[in-house]
C-alpha cells in the first residue's frame, strides 16, 4: 500500500445534539480514514450516528469537537458530493437539470454542463429520461439520478447515505451491480453508509463498524475479496466467513441499541 496522506481523515470527531433542552451525544471521538480510491463502508445499528458522520463530512453539519480533513488534489472541483437516501431531487427540474444543478451553481458553461449530463445519464442508464420530471420516475430511477448528480460534480470524495435503502430487494440488487460497475470505471474515493452488512461486504474495500449510540468506532475490517468484484462473490466462502465474523459483532451492537430503545 502506498504511504500517502489519506484522502479523508477524521480525527476524534464528536457530535452533540441539543434536543428539548437535553444534550445527546451522537458521535463519540470518531477517528477513521479513507485512502484515495478506496471504497469505505460504514455499518452500524440505528442511531449509531452513521448519517450524522456523513453529514459532517459533507459540511452540512458542524462537529462539536475534532477535526475533519479532506485532501484536495484537484482544485476547482468540489470536495464532496452526497447521494441522499431520499434522493432529494428538485421536483421542478427535469432529470437533466437536476444532474447539472451543482455544475450550474459553480458557473460551468452550458455546453460543458450538457456534455457531462449526457455522460452521467448514459452511465446510470437514464439517457431516455433526460427530459422527464422526477415524479414520473420510479424510486430506483430517482436514486440513479441522485447518483448521476453526485458524479457529475466530479467530487474528490463521493458520499453515499444508504442510497439503496428505500428500494425493493430486486431493484436494490440490480443497483448494487450498477454501483460496482460505475465505481470500477471511475475509481473515486467513496464513503458509503449502510445498514446492510451484506451490501457493505459486497461493495467495500474496508468496513468500519460503529457501536450503538453514542457511536464509536468498534472495529475496522479489511475486505479482501478481490477486485473487480461481481455479485457472484456473495457465494464465496471468504465472503461467508467475513459475514459471520462481523455479524456477531454487529449483532451485539444492534441488540444493545434495541435494549436502549426499550429501556429509554
Amino acid at each position: 500500500m502506498p504511504t500517502r496522506a489519506p484522502k479523508v481523515l477524521v480525527s476524534e470527531v464528536s457530535v452533540t445534539f441539543e434536543s428539548h433542552g437535553r444534550s445527546v451525544l451522537a458521535l463519540d471521538r470518531i477517528s477513521l480514514q479513507a485512502n484515495a480510491g478506496e471504497f469505505l463502508c460504514i455499518v452500524g445499528p440505528s442511531g449509531s450516528g452513521k448519517s450524522t458522520l456523513l453529514r459532517v463530512l459533507a459540511g452540512l453539519l458542524r462537529q462539536s469537537a475534532g477535526d475533519v480533513r479532506i485532501e484536495a488534489d484537484r482544485p476547482g472541483t468540489p470536495l464532496t458530493a452526497m447521494v441522499f437516501q431520499e434522493h432529494a431531487l428538485l421536483p421542478w427540474r427535469t432529470v437533466r437539470d437536476n444532474v447539472t444543478f451543482g455544475l450550474e451553481n459553480r458557473g460551468v458553461p452550458r455546453a460543458e454542463r450538457d456534455a457531462r449530463a449526457r455522460e452521467m445519464l448514459a452511465m446510470v442508464g437514464l439517457t431516455r429520461f433526460a427530459r422527464h420530471y422526477p415524479h414520473q420516475l420510479s424510486g430506483g430511477m430517482k436514486q440513479r439520478v441522485g447518483i448521476a448528480r453526485a458524479l457529475a460534480n466530479d467530487p474528490e470524495v463521493l458520499l453515499m447515505d444508504e442510497p439503496l435503502a428505500a428500494l425493493d430487494a430486486q431493484t436494490r440488487t440490480i443497483m448494487q451491480e450498477e454501483l460496482l460497475r460505475i465505481w470500477a470505471t471511475l475509481g473515486q474515493t467513496v464513503v458509503y453508509v449502510t445498514h446492510s452488512l451484506e451490501e457493505a461486504l459486497l461493495l467495500g474495500d474496508r468496513v468500519v463498524l460503529l457501536t450503538a449510540r453514542p457511536g464509536r468506532v468498534s472495529q475496522v475490517y479489511p475486505v479482501d475479496l478481490g477486485r473487480p468484484r461481481g455479485l457472484e462473490v456473495r457465494g464465496s466462502p471468504a465472503y461467508g466467513a467475513l459475514l459471520e465474523k462481523i455479524w456477531s459483532q454487529l449483532r451485539d451492537e444492534v441488540l444493545r441499541a434495541m435494549a436502549e430503545d426499550r429501556g429509554a
Binding site: 452540512l60 432529494a88 431531487l89 421542478w92 451553481n105 448528480r149 460534480n153
Partner: protein, 260 residues
C-alpha cells in the same frame, strides 16, 4: 368527429339536462305556470342580452368591472407575493405581521369600503383598493405557506450542491413555492370578482354589479338575468381559465387523481 360523438354519449346527461331545463322553463313561463314577472322566458332574456350587447351598455359595464378586477388583482398579487415571500423567509417578520393580519383578514371585504374611502380619494381608486384587500391576504398567506412547506431535505441538498443566497432563492425557494403561489393567485382572482360585484352594488354607477342592481331597482327583470349570465361567464372564464394555465406553467405538479 367520432371523439365528439363519444364525448356526447358519455356526457349526455350533463349536456341534455340544461337543455331540457331551458325548454321546460320556456314553456312554463310562456304558459304562466311560472310567474313571468319573476322568471322571464329564456328567449326574452336572450333578446335583452342581445340588445344590451348591441347598444354597447353591456360592453361598457363589463369593461369597467374587468378593469377594476385587473387593477385590484395586480395590486393584490404584487404586494401579496412580495410580502408573502418575505414572511416565508424571515421568521421575525412573519411573527410580527401574523397577529395583525389575523385580525384584519376575517373582516368581510365589503366592510372595508368605508375605511378605504377615508384613506384614498373616493371613486375608482377606493373600489379597486377595497377589491384588492382580501385577495391580498389570501395571496400572502398561500405564498408564505408555499415557502415554508418546501421539503427541508431538498433545500439541504441544494445548499450542498452549491446554491447560496440569490441562487438558492431563484432555483429552489421560488420554484418550490410556485404551486402554492399559483393557487393563491387563483383564489385571489376569484375573490376579486366577488368583492368587485359587491362594492359595485354599493357605490358604483358603472360595472356589472352596478348594472345588476340598477336593473333590479327599475325592475327590468330580463336585464337582471342577462347581467347575471354575463357575470357567471366572467366567473367561469377567470376560474377555469387560470386552472388551464396551471398545467402549462407548472408541468411538474401532479394533480390529485380522480378516483371515480
Amino acid at each position: 368527429m367520432r371523439a365528439l360523438g363519444r364525448w356526447l354519449a358519455e356526457h349526455w346527461i350533463a349536456v341534455g339536462s340544461p337543455i331540457v331545463l331551458l325548454v321546460v322553463w320556456e314553456r312554463a313561463s310562456a304558459t304562466g305556470l311560472l310567474r313571468e314577472a319573476f322568471f322571464p322566458r329564456p328567449s326574452t332574456i336572450v333578446a335583452h342580452l342581445r340588445q344590451l350587447a348591441a347598444d354597447g351598455t353591456l360592453w361598457g359595464h363589463a369593461a369597467a368591472t374587468l378593469a377594476r378586477i385587473g387593477w385590484a388583482f395586480a395590486l393584490a398579487a404584487v404586494l401579496g407575493v412580495g410580502i408573502g415571500l418575505a414572511m416565508g423567509l424571515w421568521r421575525r417578520l412573519r411573527e410580527g405581521l401574523d397577529p395583525v393580519f389575523a385580525v384584519i383578514y376575517p373582516i368581510p371585504s365589503v366592510l372595508f369600503l368605508p375605511l378605504v374611502s377615508f384613506l384614498v380619494p373616493p371613486g375608482e381608486i377606493a373600489l379597486v383598493v377595497t377589491t384588492a384587500v382580501t385577495s391580498f391576504f389570501l395571496i400572502a398567506f398561500t405564498t408564505t405557506h408555499g415557502v415554508r412547506q418546501i421539503d427541508r431535505l431538498v433545500v439541504e441538498a441544494a445548499v450542498h450542491y452549491g446554491a447560496r443566497g440569490w441562487r438558492l432563492f431563484a432555483t429552489v425557494l421560488l420554484p418550490g413555492a410556485l404551486p402554492f403561489i399559483f393557487t393563491g393567485l387563483r383564489l385571489g382572482l376569484g375573490f376579486a370578482l366577488i368583492v368587485v360585484v359587491a362594492v359595485e352594488i354599493v357605490s358604483a354607477s358603472r360595472g356589472l354589479g352596478a348594472l345588476l342592481w340598477l336593473s333590479w331597482q327599475i325592475l327590468k327583470v330580463e336585464d337582471m338575468y342577462a347581467t347575471f349570465f354575463v357575470i357567471a361567464l366572467l366567473g367561469a372564464a377567470l376560474s377555469y381559465g387560470l386552472a388551464a394555465l396551471r398545467a402549462r406553467l407548472l408541468p411538474w405538479v401532479q394533480d390529485v387523481a380522480e378516483r371515480r
